[in-house]
């Protein structure tokens, strides 16, 4: 690890601010402590002090941060929401933020988002599992983002076991990409599925049930094994509990 580039040891308040800023979701004190323990132990030396930070010290740092942000009038504040802390903009600045974001529809889609979109476009209506099969990675987050952006929508529930959702593209998708009709996409005949997904999947599931069960058992035992490091695992568990 490149200690050399980090001459200055940050204070707890700074760390808390940086963590809240970078996190995608509200953070509990325990989550912050976990990051400090990991960094402290991983870097060692003067960083070990961070591994010893207590919940009370972290809470104190948060309180100080709240006060200092308020004083600095930076347009930002820290709020406690459902047991976790979150950085947010001052409510008084809300109208400006809305003006910015509303006109901000010139979105630049990431590569994973574009790939996911392409699969949905050609294969619609399609299942999340299908997209994952093609892309080889979990698409949970990307798909959620695309739905947020109103480029992808839920078409309906499928008739398959568990009644998973079927996804398709939206009007806005067409507008955004300047497409008149889905069938105008190049190679759409070739890339389209020959068989509707529900029939195809039904065929598969009836064949693959024993294998699926085995897979599930494997995953469970892996999870159990993972409970190795005691204190860290306990902390993880607590975090999980708290966040549910």
């Amino acid at each position: 690890m490149s200690e050399s580039t980090l001459e200055i040891l940050p204070e707890l308040k700074q760390i808390v601010g940086a963590l809240l800023f970078a996190a995608r979701e509200p953070l509990t004190i325990k989550r912050m402590r976990k990051a400090m323990i990991e960094t402290g132990n991983g870097f060692g030396g003067p960083y070990e002090q961070y591994a010893k930070a207590t919940d009370a010290q972290i809470e104190g740092a948060i309180e100080q941060l709240i006060e200092d942000l308020d004083h600095a009038k930076a347009g930002l504040s820290v709020a406690l929401v459902a047991g976790a802390y979150r950085l947010q903009n001052d409510a008084a600045c809300g109208p400006f933020v809305r003006a910015l974001l509303e006109k901000n529809q010139t979105m630049r889609l990431s590569k994973p988002a574009l790939e996911t979109l392409a699969i949905v476009a050609y294969r619609q209506p399609c299942l999340r599992s299908e997209i994952e099969e093609v892309r080889g990675v979990s698409v949970d987050a990307v798909l959620r983002k695309l739905i947020d952006m109103q480029l992808v929508r839920v078409v309906r529930r499928s008739e398959l076991p568990g009644r998973p959702w079927l996804f398709g593209t939206t009007q806005k998708f067409l507008e955004h990409f300047g497409i008149n009709d889905i069938n105008d996409l190049p190679g759409s005949q070739e890339l389209k599925r020959a068989m509707p997904v529900e029939e195809k999947k039904k065929k598969e599931t009836t064949e693959d049930l024993p294998a699926l069960k085995e897979e599930l058992n494997k995953t469970e035992s892996e999870v159990e094994e993972d409970a190795s490091d005691k204190s860290m695992a306990a902390l993880d568990e607590e975090i999980e509990r708290e966040e549910n």
Binding site: A23, R24, V137, S138, V142, L143, V154
Partner: protein, 287 residues
Amino acid sequence: MELIKDDYKVSLEVFEGPLDLLLYLIKKDEVDIYDIPIGRITDQYMEYLRLMKVLDLNIAGDFIVMSATLMLIKSRMLLPVEEQKADQDEDEEDPRWDLVRQLVEYKKFKDAADHLEDLELHMENVFARESEHVELGAPPDVDLKDASIFDLISALNEALGRVQEEDLQEIFAEEYTVGQKVTFIVENLKVVSRMCVSDLFGGMTSRQEIVCTFLAVLELIKLNKIACVQDDPFSPIMVEPREPDPVPTLPPEEEEVPHPEFELDDESAEVEEDLGDDDEFDDEDEL
């Protein structure tokens, strides 16, 4: 050394080039870049080239071209002064000049590259909103982070120097393999967390064994299993295990999928409702 399997051929393209080697030699010998002792440097250059051939590294043609250039300059330097003048224009400079100019220019960009590297290191610690800091999706090159390929070859040279006289050993072929030495190094690094490259060669009396060990080091670097670290330029090279890659090829966007399975269904249920309502709202808005 045709015993070495093709799998273990390491392409030099991804490593540094001939200019790097020259700069390396100049720095190592602490000679003035504007007054290169061309004879000595040429000899050293050729020695490294020979070692690379022993290692069966795919030497880029550029290395050969540079050796020809060096030979030419060397031969010109050997000419008596009068003939040098007769041979060239009146105001023509030192035969080394073109090379020096190229080296100086290259050095400037090397420094600029170092600066970019510093910036990159700095930016590794900087995240923007939504923690989307600009990440590079591609896997790492074969990359010797702190020690250069030439430092490694130097270490090899020293080890080979110690067994120079025992060439007889090579008669017994197939005694050692690169695969064997890969295991050897990995096992050793489980016991000690850090070891000196020259210690790796310790007690070895066969050139083939040393070369296999060396290629094993290169292979492990390529696989990102170990890193070669050098605390100061020209100080001993240490071999360290690298932390296992967590999720090597996942694109950054999907590195954290905090809530598996059920979450999305819940959300999309809401979304569906929203969408249903939305259509009505849109109509109202237009009215």
